[in-house]
Structure formats: C-alpha cells, structure tokens
Symmetry: C2
Subunit: 222 residues, 2 copies
DNA sequence: ATAATTATTTAGACAAGCCTAAAAATTTAA
DNA sequence: TTAAATTTTTAGGCTTGTCTAAATAATTAT
C-alpha cells in the first residue's frame, strides 16, 4: 500500500511542507534549492519525479505544493523526526542544540511498529524539545497558539514555548542567556534605537537583542 | 579522519566480516553475492571500489577479505547493529525475531555520540538478544566459548547461549518450542535415524529436529 | 592433457541524485 | 510596451549501485 520513498525524496517533502503556508501555498524551486542546499536545476529534477509519483502538485514556472498523500507522508516524517528528538533529549540526555542532525537521519528509518513503540515508550509526547508539535499517527498536527517575543505585550507574564530558528548557534546562545522552554519572561521595555528588549527572566533583568526576540516564541504565562 | 562510507558499502563490509573465518580467510564474489542478495557482477564492482578505498584486500579471481581499517569499520557497524537490537528488545519490548531488519537500518546512523550514549543508556551490554557479543568502542570483540547443541555431550546440564541462524522463522520456532537464551537444556538421547535429539527443556522432555540442534549454541550449565 | 563445466570479470545499460552551462519563460524596469 | 534582469527549465555529464549478456579464467571430469 505504502510506496517506497527514498530519504532524499522524504527530505524534499518535508522542505516543501515547511516552506508552504496558508498565504503562500506554493514554493519556488529557488527557495527550495536554498532550503535543501542544492541547485535549482536539481530541485526541478526532483520535483518532476515527485510529481510523477503524485506526491506533489507542480506546474512549470509556477512552483510546487504537496498533494494530500504528500502531505500525509511529510507529517509522518516530521512525527518521526520530533519523536526521535524527544528520545535523544529525554532519554539519552543530549542538549536541544545537538539533536537535529541525528534526527535528520533517524526520521528515515522505515518501521511503523518502531514509531508506534517509540511514541509509547516516550509517553506520547505532544511537543519536541524545541516546542514544535508532534503530529499524531493519524496525521493530525495541533495548531500552536504562540507569538514572537518581539510582538508580545509589555509588562505581562510570558512563558517561552518555542523557537523560530532552531540552529545550534541560536539554541546555544539562548542557553547562555538562561532562556529555555518553560522559562518565565516579562518584557519591561522596548528600545526604539536597536529593537532590543529589556526583559526579566526568572526575576533577573537583562537586555536581549532584537534578533533573539524575532526568533523566540512565547505564550501568556501565569 | 573518518572517510564517509555509504550504507551499501557498510553492508558489504559486514557481509565480508561474517563470511570470512580463520580457516577461510577470503570470501568469493559468488558467496558474497548470495549473502547480499545481489548478482556476482555487482559484487565484483563493489569490491573493486572498496579495494580502491583500501577497505578490503581483493585479488581478481582469488576472493576478498577485510583490510585492518575495513575490519575496524565492520566491527563498528556490528556494534551499532547489536546495541540497537538490545534497545529494541529491552526498551521497546520487541521480540527477538522482529529486530533484525530494523537494526539493519539503524546501524547506518552516523553519530559517534549517539552510539556512546546509547551504549551507556543500555548499561553497556555485552551481548545482543541473539547471544552475539557486542564489540567495544575500541573494536574488541569477545571470543565466545560455545558449541552447537548437535555436538554437545549427553546427560550434561547445558544452557542455551546463542543461535547460528537468526532468521525470524527459526527464532519463532524456538519460541514455540520454549527455547530461548538462558534456558536450561539437557540432551538425553541422540536418534541415529534422523539426527533428532530427545532433550529436557526446563525439566520437560521433548524431541527436537537435527536442524534445530545444528543452529542452537549451548554452554556447560550450572 | 584436453575438454567441459563452473566461477568470475568485463562490457554496456539504467535509475537516482546531483552538477554546470545554455536556453527559455517570467518578472521588472525603462 | 519593449528591453533588461531574473528565475526556471532543459541539456548533457558524473557517480553510485544495480542489472544482463558476453568474455575469460579456473576448476573438474574425461
Ligand atoms: Mn532527513
Ligand atoms: Mn525539533
Ligand atoms: Mn544495514
Ligand atoms: Mn543479533
């Protein structure tokens, strides 16, 4: 029933998933090439193959989007990726900046039984170590109610719930600033000059750059 | 330092490792082809490439064996394979006949940190779920003192310590017979006619075929 | 020792995934 | 609304890993 897809094809499906949104429903080959670290011509090749397999809808010069089956496949790979990240952090005690590249490999292991048992072993976690939601086995992914710290209201208790950039460099910098998921933040002041924020993190006041504020998600906290 | 090897190349190294012994130090392309489920001509191609990379020593028409670096790489893959099998059985509660194919994929994940932490997480196991020894990080593999049940002495307490054939079919059949690692066995009688054995397993007497006896390893028990 | 058989390698082909260079379509600017 | 710039696709080539068919080496039988 389930046609075989190569790791490379899976990575493309994931990239298309991540690069399309409600208001930008298709992605260009150039953007996809950037995301994949490949040349646009290579992407065109791949997208044409995926189109023949009915995993994407592709129109020459018009960009590409996932088909329904492609979307389901992408969600399954993302589910595996995030479950493995939880395993690596919670069970093997990796830090949140070390797990992405390993999960990038583990997500391609093909065994439904393995994914099922891994999820059960981990207690069916809802989010990964970066605060991203884990799709269910059925392919449902919970919409996140979160806002960028940059746009959060002043003098309001907030809690850190996710990151926009999950590069090791950014995550390590957050560590250095004492910022992690679940940490309480309050924005005390916005500096007009450079966009930096004066914040209180766990009742300690510090100034953080606008670049951090643009890549950190928060929710209304207690 | 560590040159990249593809999953396919890794599987070949493993196959060469398994098919060479002290008294048969080289393996033929035909035998290797059988082991890999490929044609001999494909194997010739591959061993020539591996030879250029100095992972094997290959002489036209004379067969192939691992070089020192090839041997080290093979042991590292086998270490990963067996560690993952332990994880699947001990932590995810797979049965011993279900884990080989999954481990066949997991063994190719490239991350030394992952292997190290997995080993620690599992408590540095010495053997896998089939009784096979797990090489150390340094590449030391413990020689097993075990004998085929077929050749074991009569009326002697024995304990089951491994299998020669680890196919799902054989392992499931062993389950059905109540045979597993650590189970106590005693050979009561050898039947000349068909090579079958009358054995006592956990103090219950039953007859087992010679094919089982040829694929089951035992040690002197308590 | 020669012939027949078997094992092994070579030759040529193909698909997947990538590349560069060139052509074509689209978008932007004049 | 043409012309210029940019984006995207096509053409052709390379590597890996596989195959089949043909050639060659090695082994076995006569
Ligand atoms: Mn991946
Ligand atoms: Mn993540
Ligand atoms: Mn394998
Ligand atoms: Mn095993």
């Amino acid at each position: 029933m389930k046609r075989k897809i190569s790791p490379s094809e899976e990575d493309y499906l994931k990239a298309i998933y991540h690069k399309t949104t409600a208001d930008a429903p298709v992605v260009s080959t150039t953007l996809l090439a950037e995301e994949m670290g490949a040349k646009p011509s290579s992407v065109t090749d791949m997208v044409q193959r995926l189109s023949e397999k009915a995993l994407v809808e592709y129109q020459k010069y018009k960009g590409v989007k996932l088909s329904d089956t492609g979307n389901t496949r992408a969600l399954s790979i993302i589910r595996k990726h995030r479950l493995w990240e939880v395993f690596l952090v919670n069970e093997l005690h990796f830090s949140w900046d070390q797990v992405h590249d390993i999960a990038e490999q583990l997500e391609h292991i093909q065994s439904e039984a393995l994914t099922d048992r891994l999820a059960a072993f981990l207690g069916h976690p809802k989010t990964d170590p970066h605060g991203d939601p884990i799709p269910t086995k059925e392919g449902n992914i919970q919409a996140q109610t979160k806002m960028l710290l940059e746009l959060a209201p002043l003098n309001t208790p907030l809690v850190c719930v996710g990151v926009e950039d999950s590069s090791a460099a950014f995550l390590q910098f957050l560590d250095k600033c004492g910022i992690g998921l679940g940490v309480n933040i309050e924005v005390l002041e916005k500096e007009i000059f450079d966009g930096s924020l004066l914040v209180s993190i766990d009742s300690k006041t510090q100034r953080i750059s606008s670049l951090i504020a643009q890549n950190l998600y928060v929710n209304q906290g207690q």
